[in-house]
Symmetry: C2
Subunit: 333 residues, 2 copies
């Protein structure tokens, strides 16, 4: 059986097609996360970077550049930049969420301490900006700096929206654009910019990344209420227990009668949860078709992502990105 | 009495000479710290930015640019960038140090929470990088990104050196270069770069900022063991109680006999402090001339800073920077 046949998942096929570039990205990441003076930095970053996330974001950058025939070295820098920003965000998120596990391993804030997580996250962000300056391209710097601002804005918004039942779909969309879609769209956009794509094509790349990111996060939020066909590294009900207002909750609350609303106020706003509340929440979601409606929204965003792809030149990697988009929502089956 | 006569402190004279530029910096800071979507962001940043720090770092950038006759708009962007990076660092520091007061006011982590401090710090960093891209100058971006990396590296190093009596003067210098001097030197360097100063002059600006930052931090560390001629917003013995290894401690430990060493191990490494320990520490420092030696080191760095200034063109602002340098160490009198 050839490697090609083994790689049946779209993500793996993409990784195979980009394997040479990804090897360069990984080498650059290892090189730049080192610190001569503070040995604790590589300890922590290695823990996180080597834990082997899916490297989805850097692959988006590489694919976007390659679709336009880019042959220069800087798509590798930008891909590493994107992964650094992502990793810094994870470190700070774990502090903010007081998480104990990520990708099946104890989080850095648990193994070391919150202080180290904050500072090493800062270090990775600074390293990300250093990497970008290597490209000598101000526009990609502006795009990624803007994405960084939108990411933290989204996280702050999520924090103030937490446990607030007034959170509506517009605020939810803003939050997930920040926490997920902003880096997806910046990742695809800078790939096109560095490769000299036209303005219309750069716009299409942005729209693809944005819509893929929104669909991705909606699926993630949906999987938190079950329906996972595979291990996703989180437990059903985590968001519920934390009082996070995600789309399934918003849709169930919007359709709630007075009694149901009192339930949501107690479990989400007041955070007073008892045994059986998750089951009760799932029952209300089923009653009002909240999970189905969330799934429909995710499928709609996936369709938008694929429509944007159609604006790009025909390319094997473009087709793989389309397959990847299908796969993201297929996790729901 | 004219304004000029009133402004007797070098810092105030500098602020007066740069008042128009500083007004533009403050306006830009207020404009860019806003967030359309997350109202908690301006609440927190206003708390910190409006608290009225001395704005020393942005003034360094403005002065450096003006000494070279810069008339463009971007020294203002760079000065605001420097203040944003500084403010982000303060927010994250307060989380790391678990501080309760800064500049005589409760810290953001106390008024809001650690989560907000982490995320709003990230937001300010991202905004800082956005501001920089406005200048369209890759070199200043590289300098400030590098400074950001050195800052967080220094903070991580300080964290792992804390309570470790093996910390020597070389490590101490690395730590304070990171926590203080890196932003001072980047602030002066980018002012010269944007103004088109020669390589030799840019180097002199870097060396001035670096030496001023080192002297500034040594004085700060010394004032923590008394000798303050004015309010410095911290209490004598804070560093001691936190087990921070600063130059006075390093010098006293280096000269300690076995009995004294046991004292330092108990109070710093083991963190077991009793009433009278601060007085005991001060006694040992006096015995070994540790405070005098620290003062001599600070004076030496101040002299280095002034020597670097001599490489710059004659200018009223250059003389003010020299006076400022004298004033920084004169706080010791």
């Amino acid at each position: 059986m050839s490697l090609d046949e083994k790689a049946t998942k779209p993500h793996d096929r993409l990784a195979l097609a980009l394997s040479e570039d990804m090897a360069a990205v990984n080498a650059l990441i290892r090189d730049r996360m080192a610190s001569e003076h503070a040995p604790r930095i590589p300890e922590i970053t290695a823990h996180l970077v080597e834990a082997g996330g899916k490297r989805l974001r850097p692959m988006l950058t590489l694919a976007a550049a390659r679709i336009f025939g880019y042959e220069g070295p800087f798509h590798v820098h930008l891909a590493a930049t994107v992964e650094f920003i992502h990793t810094a965000t994870l470190l700070h998120d774990d502090v903010v969420d007081e998480s104990k596990q990520r990708r099946g391993r104890p989080t850095a804030n648990l193994l070391w301490d919150n202080k180290s997580s904050v500072l090493v996250g800062d270090y990775l962000l600074a390293r990300a900006f250093q990497l970008m300056t290597d490209t000598n391209n101000i526009r990609v710097l502006a795009i990624l700096a803007n994405a960084s601002a939108v990411i933290s804005e989204g996280e702050v918004l999520q924090l103030s929206a937490a446990q607030d039942l007034a959170t509506d779909e517009a605020i939810y969309l803003q939050v997930i654009r920040g926490k997920t879609a902003a880096l997806f769209s910046a990742a695809t956009e800078v790939g096109g910019v560095i490769a000299g794509a036209s303005e219309a094509q750069v716009k299409a790349l942005f729209e693809f990344g944005d819509a893929l990111g929104v669909a991705f996060q909606m699926v993630d939020d949906l999987l938190d209420y079950g329906g996972a066909s595979e291990t996703i590294g989180k437990n059903v009900g985590d968001d519920f227990r934390e009082g996070k207002i995600t789309l399934p909750v918003i849709k169930a609350v919007a359709a709630a009668d007075a009694e149901e609303r009192a339930f949501w106020v107690r479990v989400i706003e007041k955070g007073k949860q008892e045994d059986g509340d998750l089951e009760q929440a799932l029952g209300l979601m089923a009653k009002h078709g909240a999970l189905e409606a969330t799934k429909a929204a995710a499928l709609e965003w996936a369709a938008k992502a694929k429509a944007a792809l159609a604006e790009l030149p025909a390319h094997e990697l473009r087709d793989m990105l389309a397959d990847l988009t299908d796969y993201v929502v297929a996790r729901l089956r």
